[in-house]
């Protein structure tokens, strides 16, 4: 019975010892301890390792405040880094700003900070150790000349930069012009009105539609092509006008042979009523090919 009680006591003692050892574990990571001038900021970082049952008491964290007449605590950041290797770990960043104006290099001390960690049943005091550093003067100790007492100049007022607004405005205008141009192009407004006048484009569509029927509507296809020739020439074009047409629209010259066959076929159909002969001369599929070719010529010429 007595032996068992002793074991328990030893166990409690071990736990307490471990807890104390962990709770004390504050490591300060400080920057270089020299070469600071008035107005510089100094960031001290401390790694705190605690027994996993403990938490840093948020109320014990220092608030940003003037620490001394020459030292401000500007920011306090506490980062919880979770539990690793059996200890709860925190990172505490303290940003100080020093306003000491030394006449010669002088060692100053950032005082220690007290923190507290709490669990359900106990409270452990922690200390961020003090840290000393050397500040350097910014100016010489004035001799005879007034140089050292001449203040640095003002920050001059500067005009507002308008470049960005102007640039964006021009980009907006350019985009608007592009949009207007696209709409105009699609609608065939000036200066895109000429684009609309592509009779062979229309004819090619009609021919394709007519040829696609079963049986193919040969007459309609022929007529559509004739209307396209008429519209392109600005007058009626008959077989005997072909030379004049080609002279006026030399782009169609390479297709002369096919065009002549077209006119022959159309004469067979409309005047000799020999649709069979015409379809032999120029089958419906060839008619669609011809229409496509003429459309291509027209597009090149436009």
């Amino acid at each position: 019975m007595a032996a068992r009680a002793r074991w328990v006591l030893i166990g409690v003692g071990l736990l307490a010892a471990m807890g104390a050892a962990r709770a004390d574990d504050v490591t300060l990571y400080a920057p270089r301890p020299f070469g600071y001038v008035i107005g510089d900021t100094i960031t001290l970082s401390a790694d705190v390792a605690l027994d996993p049952s403990l938490k840093i008491d948020p109320a014990s964290l220092p608030q940003p405040r003037p620490v001394d007449y020459w030292l401000d605590l500007k920011a306090v950041r506490l980062t919880d880094r979770g539990t690793r290797e059996g200890a709860r770990r925190y990172r505490l960043d303290l940003v100080y700003q020093t306003f000491y104006a030394p006449l010669e290099p002088k060692r100053l001390v950032i005082p220690a900070l007290a923190l507290a960690a709490v669990s359900d049943d106990r409270r452990v005091e922690l200390a961020i150790p003090p840290w000393s550093f050397v500040m350097s003067p910014l100016r010489e100790i004035a001799g005879g000349s007034g140089e050292a007492m001449t203040p640095r100049p003002d920050i001059m007022p500067r005009p507002i930069a308008t470049r960005r607004a102007l640039m964006l405005s021009f980009i907006g205008l350019a985009l608007a012009a592009l949009g207007a141009a696209l709409i105009g192009w699609q609608r065939g407004w000036w200066p895109f009105h000429r684009r609309r006048d592509r009779p062979f484009l229309r004819a090619a569509r009609s021919v394709r539609a007519a040829v696609g029927l079963s049986p193919p509507d040969y007459d309609t296809a022929l007529l559509a092509l004739h209307r396209a020739f008429d519209a392109t020439a600005g007058e009626r074009v008959f077989a005997e006008d072909l030379d004049a047409f080609l002279a006026a629209h030399p782009g169609f010259e390479p297709a002369r042979h096919d065009i002549a066959r077209l006119f022959t076929a159309s004469r067979d159909v409309f005047f000799a009523a020999e649709a069979g002969a015409a379809q032999q001369e120029l089958p419906a599929e060839r008619l669609a090919e011809l229409a496509a070719r003429l459309r291509a010529i027209e597009r090149m010429a436009a």
């Binding site: 107005g39 700003q97 203040p151 607004a165 405005s169 608007a176 949009g179």
Partner: protein, 191 residues
């Protein structure tokens, strides 16, 4: 394929029109901004050239700073103070810093003028206010070398001392009571 084309043909005019309207709005908005900024810049140029222009409290920060600068280099510090207060709490850190420093510089110059004619008493509050201005500016931007330099000047004119505990190595109490040490290298006028 032709379905897609059909869809494209239907969507195309609406898309173009939307783009056109959006682009026009952008152009109008930014153009107006540029025009307003241009007018503000004209007023800033006037102030910098030394002609006073009335500036109301809602004017753009850059214009307010120009007016503040106009006032501070003419020693009209009481009129400049409210402008500096407004800019110092504004969103634009650069303007806040410039306002604080320009006003503090004006106070430091005024203090140096007073000291040159040996008027120590009116100089002390000026130096203290200048010091506070530089500290506020440095709190916003710790990298301002000109502010550090000028703060160093003010610190040597009127040194800071611990408010409560005076440690042994500090200066004797009669000096701290006067809050005045000495002025190295500054002419004191006739004896």
């Amino acid at each position: 394929m032709s379905g897609f084309r059909q869809w494209l043909r239907q969507i195309f005019p609406a898309a173009c029109l939307t783009a056109l309207v959006v682009a026009l709005l952008l152009a109008g908005w930014q153009g107006t901004r540029a025009a307003l900024d241009h007018r503000t810049n004209a007023a800033i140029a006037q102030l910098v050239a030394g002609r006073d222009v009335p500036v109301n409290d809602n004017a753009p920060g850059a214009l307010q700073l120009a007016r503040l600068h106009f006032l501070t280099i003419r020693d009209r510090l009481d009129e400049a103070q409210p402008i500096a207060n407004r800019l110092a709490i504004g969103d634009d850190a650069q303007l806040a810093v410039a306002a604080l420093i320009d006003l503090a510089n004006a106070r430091l110059r005024a203090a140096l003028d007073e000291l040159a004619s040996n008027n120590i008493d009116p100089a002390i509050p000026l130096v203290r206010l200048a010091k506070e201005g530089y500290r506020r500016a440095l709190a916003i931007d710790p990298g301002l070398w000109d502010a550090k330099y000028n703060l160093d000047i003010t610190m040597r004119l009127v040194r800071d001392f611990p408010q409560i505990e005076v440690s042994g190595e500090e200066l004797p109490p009669e000096v701290t009571k006067r809050l005045w040490t000495d002025l190295p290298g500054l002419p004191r006028g006739l004896p």
